[in-house]
């Protein structure tokens, strides 16, 4: 976790707390100034503009998601004695991420990615976290390959991107009200996980 100047930290925490009750795009600078009791001058001393504060808060939120995923994946690896154990453990993580309850998370993820594409500043702060997530998943796949639990003919980095790509990309299905049923999606994903990425040697 990055260490910020105390004032900066208060403002970022304030935005993160507000996201628990409202969408990040609806948060206003007046709201943050009032709740944090920090002066406007001080805010603009630490952030070039209000948007930068929002971007920093988004990166911190994303970083905590990354920490969570990486720690769950390492646990899955450390408790598994066989490929079957391992697949059961990661199934809980993978399918947990595909549930309808995760729709909001996936929508915010896509919003962050879009911002990172459009803004160099956001790309700098998000890029490092994205890298950490991709490498964390790739390390896990590499370790599974060494144990003979994953497809040796795949590049671990590309496999990591692939897993994230179809998970993030599923938002396409949420644009319209006609959606594929979750069971058929999980069924397809399970086959890809089981027979492509973690295909036994």
């Amino acid at each position: 976790m990055k260490i910020f100047h105390p004032t900066k930290e208060i403002m970022v925490r304030c935005v993160i707390n507000l996201t628990k009750t409202q969408g990040i795009e609806t948060i206003t600078s007046d709201q943050v100034l009032e709740i944090s009791r920090i002066s406007k001058g001080s805010m603009y001393h630490h952030f070039k503009d209000f948007n930068e504060l929002i971007e920093v808060a988004e990166s911190v939120i994303f970083a905590s998601v990354v920490d969570d995923v990486i720690s769950r994946l390492s646990t899955a690896l450390s408790i598994s004695k066989s490929r079957e154990d391992f697949l059961t453990a990661i199934a809980a993580i993978t399918y947990g991420n595909q549930t309808p309850e995760k729709v909001e998370d996936r929508l915010s993820r896509i919003t962050y990615l879009a911002q990172a594409i459009s803004s160099e500043r956001m790309k700098l702060s998000m890029g490092a976290e994205q890298e950490r997530l991709t490498q964390g998943i790739a390390d896990l796949i590499r370790e599974a390959q060494e144990r003979g639990w994953a497809n040796p003919n795949l590049n671990a980095l590309a496999a990591s991107i692939f897993l994230q790509a179809f998970t993030v990309g599923r938002v396409i299905d949420y644009i319209s009200d006609e959606r594929v049923d979750d069971e058929s999606w999980i069924f397809l994903i399970a086959q890809v996980v089981d027979r492509v990425i973690f295909a036994p040697v």
């Binding site: 879009a114 998000m126 991709t134 999606w185």
Partner: protein
């Protein structure tokens, strides 16, 4: 896609499309569009709520046209394939085109447009129609391949269509990070997914 639109509205969208394509990395301004099209500012704001709405339409237009090209190419492949192996070979070539680094700006457009639908209901409604049409066309192709015994009969064709669209767009994840994967490694994983899961050989 814009058949029901007023001709002025169509002209503005097509001008934006032309400018976006001529220089995908530069920012297109409303001044440029007005100058090139010869349409007045008042008229632009009569047809569009704001300048972003015009650009949203232009992005969706480019995206849809590209996907339609891919669908047409896939239809052609299905027609020309005599065996499952022919089809898998063709698909492998399409992967190398549609997933290539050169298509990056199109993928980025796509993601940014989809992200906007989170807060922009106007765009969401418009994109939803296009999205259903494209997913439907891809699903039809898959169903046809299933009927010929070349595709996995256990999979739902619409789910497969969403899955293919999802990983194609989601590849953006790689572009945000600081180090990038080798495109060949990506093609390999897509090929293996096509070969083993989407179009498996009958045992």
């Amino acid at each position: 896609m814009f058949r029901n639109f007023h001709p002025t509205k169509q002209t503005l969208i097509m001008t934006a499309v032309g400018l976006l394509e001529a220089n995908p990395t530069a920012e297109t301004t409303s001044e440029q569009i007005l100058e090139v099209s010869g349409i007045s500012k008042g008229s632009l704001y009569h047809h569009f709520e704001d300048f972003s709405e015009l650009m949203e339409y232009a992005h969706v237009f480019i995206f849809t046209r590209e996907v339609e090209k891919s669908i047409a190419a896939m239809n052609m492949m299905l027609l020309q394939s005599k065996t499952r192996e022919d089809l898998v070979g063709f698909l492998s070539k399409v992967t190398r085109q549609s997933q290539s680094p050169e298509m990056k700006s199109l993928r980025n457009f796509r993601l940014v447009t989809v992200a906007k639908t989170v807060t922009n209901l106007r765009l969401r409604k418009f994109l939803a129609e296009e999205q259903l049409r494209l997913t439907g066309a891809l699903a039809d192709l898959y169903r046809e391949a299933q009927e010929r015994g070349w595709a996995n009969p256990a999979l739902n064709p619409t789910t497969v269509a969403i899955f293919v669209e999802a990983y194609t767009m989601g590849k953006v994840v790689d572009e945000i990070a600081t180090t990038h994967m080798d495109p060949e490694d990506w093609y390999s994983i897509v090929d293996q997914t096509i070969e083993k899961i989407l179009f498996p050989a009958v045992k």
